[in-house]
Amino acid sequence: MQKDQLKIDYGYNNIEFNQFIEQHPVIPKGTLQLKSRGSLYYWYYALSVNVPNRVVYLCKAYIGKKNSLSSFELALLTLKNKYKKSNKKTILEDKVPDVPLDKKWSEHKFNMKLVNPANKRKYTVIVVGTGLAGASAAASMAELGYNVLAFSYHESPRRAHSIAAQGGINAAKNYQNDGDSTYRLFYDTIKGGDYRAREANVYRLAELSGNIIDQCVAQGVPFAREYGGHLDNRSFGGAQVSRTFYARGQTGQQLLLGAYSALIRQMNLKNVQFFPRHDMIDLVTIDGAAKGIITRNLLTGEIKSFPAHAVILATGGYGNVFYLSTNAMASNVTASWRAHKKGAFFANPCYTQIHPTCIPVSSDHQSKLTLMSESLRNDGRVWVPKKKNDTRLPSQISENERDYYLERLYPSFGNLVPRDVASRRAKEMCDQGYGVGETKLAVYLDFKDVIERNGSQWVSEKYGNLFDMYKQITGQNPYENPMMIYPAVHYTMGGLWVDYNLMSNMPGLHVIGEANFSDHGANRLGASALMQGLADGYFVIPYTIGNYLANQSSDLDIEHPNYAECVQENRDSIKTLLNISGTRTVDDLHKELGKIMWDNVGMSRSKKSLETALELIPKLKSNFWNNIKIPGLNNEFNPELEKAGRLIDFIELGELMALDALNREESCGGHFREEHQTEENEAKRDDDNYAYVAAWEYTKSQHVLHKEKLKFENVKLATRSYK
């Protein structure tokens, strides 16, 4: 009763409130509440039904009137506006400038607003993830003068999984004089992505590709060189020119160390504050805009909020939803997924890339899969025995008993067809009984010819570390016997939806690198991931972030109750997790999820398999909430607790992936629906009905689909052919 009196003191009137609710039927039933924080009071609206974000903050409470408005009236006004906003139909605006393709980026750069150099330091920008995209973005923005906070769950930015990229980075430098150009790289990428990427973004990527190489060389990245002292190139899948720059089989490592060096230089200059071993576990929004993040310190368990004017997610891909993938053990979707649950749309989640050349699975204990760079397909030849269930050793199978099926099916691209094609054909061969090795789930990648032609010394110089790695893992010597390979989950083209400025539908939330959806369509070409991560980080976001911040006040309401509330919610949910104390370990349930995903939402999908997945995943979800077993406490270094939080997000994402795949009644790139294929078993697109980006909105009851129609003004939609 005391509380009711307090409400009345602050201007509350029950009759007026009831009238207001009647007049605004869009507002769900609830009560107006007054809550204290410290010595002050605030108005909140609490919904009657128990849903997430059930209590919404309205405004500060005061006694009497200000500007002839009591705080009660102000609260009602805010409430009305909140629901007006949320009922507005969301239209996905790509913000692509309406000028010719090759003018778009330069026009846009000129038209974007700038932040005065003296004002830049008043703006705090958070970068989550410090791999290629994150480190390069953090460093470049700090150089410009913004106050940058960078977060990573690793101990050091140099550990990010960008480091594992082997083969190289594409750039339209045309150093080989083989006819490469910005337009050709753009065209190859659009075609390679099976016409499901946004033209303008891809063209910009191709345009910036050359700058990346210049930047990296200036940083001291030791790219491979020819004897004349100039940079060397090699070829990659999906291209008929040689445009891939490389540093032996460790290109990702060298590029990441380059970006890391730029970042630590800014750390040394105190322009970037780096928070190692901090896991982003939530996004803080104020009036629908991203205004900070919540992190858990992985060493102490401390849960804390960090306010900022803008948030940039550079948190990588979600391949680990399959449990076994070539991603690092800790790679996860949590940052993206939690932002998604706060309102950011998730685009094309079903586009996953299965890489054709990985070391096959050997046992149930396997914890991850290892990739053998695509560059191996430059000199290695893929084959299976012509006879089914042939158990002879490869050396006993003569040349005319071998089926070099990629060369046979695709005479012009041969072993260098794009990844989705190579993977699917390998699976097909194995499904038909031509597979090799103990499990019969493998094909040969043979270097016999090139070793005979150029000698093993030459091969070792080019691929030495890959051959060593293969030998280490399998115990087999690839100089003597052909490698055995099988496709594995490798990269996710889907991700949070972004516009041309790389901003999501949520103001202030930007997404770069693998975490966004924008540049690779339904299939990424080899050596393009490094290119995209660095283009976004070095050359796109430093410009577009200014355009956003120029319209923002430099004042930041760091006392806003949403920060404290979000911290509390996350503390509570961790407590809930730890209290379940069931019987299943995190890895155990993760393996189960992986199996469901691989069997039903893997390399090829059908209506039936997807429906099976949609039946099984909710069961797994409830199993998680009832049966998970997490040892230890929150306030200590507790890797199992970290993994559990990530697993639940993977489970929820898995469901959306199946939903998205079910919705997309066509085959394109990495998304292959068995119902939609040509007579030659190639992917059959449906451009009339599905040339759109599927952007999913999270609501409590269901996922809502929004479509961004893809406009092809420069490239003619055609059936992809690599024959």
């Binding site: 460093a139 210049d214 940083q219 060189r225 002292g229 540093a247 060096s261 040394n268 046992s363 370990t585």
Partner: protein
């Protein structure tokens, strides 16, 4: 296979100790960490605390992992990180003594996990070429001898795992620092800042409490990327050259 594991357990700043586990059904194809995964799963099921160890890419490139096995950093094989070590490298019935990196500059966080941020602070003091984003000249504007580029690459392959420090009886970080300095020293882009880089990185290395090099060569022997001790020789030479009279 059966393996007898003696593993170091330690939490926070408490005194640590070895704990013994007898593990059956180890497959030869398992990696060393997959064996630990299996053990941890069992430990959790039996309501025991799992063994904490650092790892991430499990491809031998990120540098996150690393434990000392039977006195050797990253275990018995040459040129291999712990995550790439497979159980076929051991015999049935072997006893494996597993410890964290031991060095005064790497404090123990938990069990086998150590704090290597000292490496980042050394890098911060000068492990970069000061070039701003944008405005770099064309990548082919300055030709570089292939030999120089290759040598720079050999030094640049360091993964920063800290095995060199763990292997050294003096806990010296000379190989780590030497590798970075020589990468830039081989390239025209790294010349301008070279003298100050050498001085600053060596100063920071000393401040972090890493020991001196007494030329035992243990670092090279246990480095998973087989970085040559020549990097240390060159570092000493360069340090002498650029620190005298300063």
């Amino acid at each position: 296979m059966k393996i007898n594991l003696k593993v170091w357990r330690q939490s926070n700043n408490l005194k640590g100790q070895f704990e013994e586990h007898y593990i059956e059904n180890v497959s030869e194809d398992m990696s060393f960490f997959e064996m630990l995964d299996m053990l941890n799963n069992t430990l959790i099921e039996q309501n025991h605390e799992p063994i904490a160890f650092d790892h991430d890419c499990r491809e031998g490139i990120c540098g996150t992992c690393g434990v000392v096995i039977n006195g050797k950093a990253h275990g018995p094989l040459k040129g291999v990180t712990t995550c790439q070590l497979h159980m076929r490298s051991f015999e049935d019935g072997d006893t494996l003594v597993v410890e964290p990196w031991r060095a005064p500059s790497f404090s123990i966080i938990k069990d086998l996990v150590v704090d290597r941020t000292a490496f980042d602070r050394i890098m911060e003091s000068g492990g970069y070429v000061s070039v701003k984003t944008g405005g770099a000249p064309d990548a082919n504007a300055i030709p570089i001898f292939k030999e120089d580029a290759d040598q720079a690459f050999d030094s640049a392959t360091c993964i920063g795992c800290g095995a060199c420090v763990a292997a050294c009886k003096n806990s010296s970080a000379m190989l780590f620092v030497g590798a970075k300095i020589n990468q830039y020293a081989q390239l025209p882009q790294g010349q301008v800042e070279h003298p100050s880089r050498v001085r600053n990185m060596v100063t920071q290395m000393d401040e972090e409490g890493f020991g001196s090099c007494t030329n035992t060569g243990a670092c090279e022997a246990e480095c998973p990327k087989e970085i040559s001790v020549e990097n240390i020789i060159k570092l000493n030479k360069e340090y002498l050259k650029h620190s005298l009279g300063k």
